[in-house]
């Protein structure tokens, strides 16, 4: 636990000292929510209830983005400072290392969820809590698990192939934005790629969120699929990460990442 707390300290200090992180995990998400909120109102016109799927989609999307970003970019800060080796020369285990970023990413996501809830309440008169507390918990849990799996694989790829692919850390999630039908029903997607959307747990969460706007009843059927996919994907992601991490140490890339 000491070592996880130490890594969280480092995350806190880096966030406090880096305008880039504050912009990426606070400014952009909140601005996106504001923009999507106004866009939703404009598109929906007088039928205000039709506005909220877009806004809810954006609020929930930020949970995926912030968590995945924290896991993938957290290590980049140490690579850029040539400090990553120093960390791995301490007794920290890879599990502790990843877990610290999972905690930090989830905390940041939770803070943004609370902030965006307040923002949408006061600016757009939409109370996210109307979706149901249990629903919100299940949205949060499944989206965070999905983001952790994605973040871990991207982190593994960065360790394996170096900073030349670092842009993946803040860009890959945007690929999932249309594929997981964050802002529209899956039925809008062309039928040829609809099956692909159903491979991602986030798709079911967004479907459940849209359903919750109409009725706050929990869509257990959708959550069951999302959660099942998450508990399959997470160990796979960890295995892929360990393989990439070991390969990186075998080829010498891990040490070269800082040169």
């Amino acid at each position: 636990m000491h070592r996880i707390i130490a890594m969280l300290y480092q995350e806190y200090f880096i966030t406090k000292r880096s305008l880039e992180v504050i912009v990426d995990v606070v400014f952009f998400p909140l601005v996106n929510i504001v923009v999507f909120g106004f866009l939703s109102l404009y598109v929906a016109g007088s039928r205000s209830t039709h506005a909220y799927p877009l806004l809810v989609g954006m609020i929930l999307w930020q949970l995926v983005y912030i968590t995945q970003y924290s896991i993938s970019v957290g290590s980049l800060w140490n690579i850029w400072s040539r400090n990553l080796s120093n960390i791995f020369l301490t007794p920290i285990s890879i599990t502790e290392y990843i877990f610290s970023f999972v905690i930090s990413g989830s905390l940041k996501a939770l803070i943004i969820l609370v902030t965006s809830t307040l923002l949408s309440l006061y600016v757009f008169h939409f109370n996210v809590l109307h979706l149901g507390i249990l629903n919100l918990f299940l949205f949060f849990l499944n989206l965070i698990l999905f983001a952790i799996s994605t973040g871990i694989i991207i982190l593994g790829l960065i360790f394996r192939y170096g900073t030349k692919i670092q842009a993946l850390a803040w860009s890959v999630t945007f690929l999932f934005q249309p594929l997981t039908a964050a802002f529209f029903p899956v039925s809008v997607l062309p039928s040829a790629i609809r099956w692909l959307a159903y491979l991602f747990p986030a798709t079911y969460v967004f479907e459940a969120a849209r359903a919750a706007l109409i009725s706050p009843a929990v869509r257990w059927d959708l959550f069951f699929i999302a959660f099942t996919q998450n508990i399959i994907y997470l160990p796979i992601a960890l295995l892929v990460f360990v393989k990439l991490f070991n390969r990186s140490k075998d080829t010498g890339q891990f040490a070269r990442n800082e040169s």
């Binding site: 480092q10 850029w80 400072s81």
Partner: protein
């Protein structure tokens, strides 16, 4: 007899396919005893850094065994990493954090009890109080080295691996850093595995030197014994008399020489021949006015190896 802190057996690191790949470390074995400072030297590409990376677990070995404190490194990694540390000019701490924050993070990673007290004790020991609140990125190279060494002492290590800790430092800062390392060795009996390109500092602080070349250990001995292996020294004589007579004398004794000017000659000869030569020349009509003997140094040994002369320097 002191116990082995580190024991490496038949370490091999091969990159790429079995055929046509590249062997960075080729079946090396060595040890390091408690309280000993061992220099790890060799030209660029000799395999020093790869070996250090393997010893720290950030690069995987192809084969071979590594034991710290009598325990297998890979099976007891966490326990061993708690007892060793690392300092290098090439690894820095987190640039955005100030020195205190960086040290607190590492104190946490090493589970240091009373971290603030420990950090303050080390900071005072290294007279670095003024650095505590400074952002690491803004420190000078010398200050960063000092902080890196402080970081490497946070867990009271029994062994520190140092990879060119004085690289890119001004001579005076490098000298102060070396004094600190000597002090640590004297007062805390810490073992060190030390790589450097600076032969003078290796000769100054190392009890034993391991020379690597193309992934192989080509020599292992004390700095003094290694220089003795060179065998040859340079005798520089200033003299009064005829240059022709000096040439005649040196040729008749099969000496290699070079005239600096008409009255100064530089003779490359076996060390044991020097008294005989001086005595012999003084018995001619040449009058020796000044004698300077340049004994072989570790640098000469290093240069011999870099030129591929391992056969000449091996005992």
């Amino acid at each position: 007899m002191k116990q082995n802190i580190l024991e490496v057996r038949n370490l091999i690191k091969h990159y790429g396919p079995c055929i046509g790949g590249y062997t960075a470390v080729n079946d090396i074995s060595f040890y390091l005893r408690e309280g000993e400072v061992v220099g790890f030297l060799g030209p660029n590409g000799a395999g020093k850094t790869t070996t250090i990376q393997i010893l720290l677990g950030i690069t995987l070995a192809t084969s071979g065994s590594i034991q710290y404190f009598g325990k297998d490194f890979y099976q007891n990694k966490q326990h061993i990493l708690q007892r060793i540390n690392y300092a290098s000019a090439f690894n820095t701490l987190q640039g955005r954090l100030n020195v205190m924050e960086n040290l607190l993070v590492f104190a946490g990673l090493y589970k240091v009890k009373n971290p603030r007290n420990k950090i303050m004790n080390l900071i005072e020991y290294f007279h670095s109080e003024e650095l505590l609140s400074k952002i690491y990125w803004n420190l000078s190279a010398g200050q960063k080295t000092r902080v890196n060494i402080i970081k490497s002492l946070l867990n009271d290590p029994e062994l520190i691996l140092m990879d060119e800790p004085t690289a890119s430092l001004d001579p005076d800062v490098a000298d102060r850093t070396l004094s600190l390392i000597e002090d640590l060795k004297r007062k805390q009996n810490i073992s060190l595995l030390y790589t450097s390109h600076n032969m003078d500092e290796v000769a100054r602080i190392c009890d034993r030197v391991i020379f690597l070349d193309k992934g192989n250990i080509v020599a292992e001995d004390t700095p003094l014994n290694l220089t003795k292996r060179i065998g040859q020294a340079v005798l520089r004589l200033s003299f009064d008399g005829s240059k022709e007579n000096m040439v005649k004398y040196l040729d008749s004794h099969n000496q290699k020489y070079k005239f600096i000017n008409n009255f100064i000659v530089s003779i490359v000869t076996e060390e044991k021949m020097i008294p005989k030569l001086i005595f012999g020349i003084s018995k001619t009509d040449l009058y020796i006015t000044d004698i300077e003997v340049q004994k072989p140094t570790l640098k000469d040994f290093f240069l011999q190896i870099a030129k591929g002369g391992t056969k000449h320097v091996n005992a």
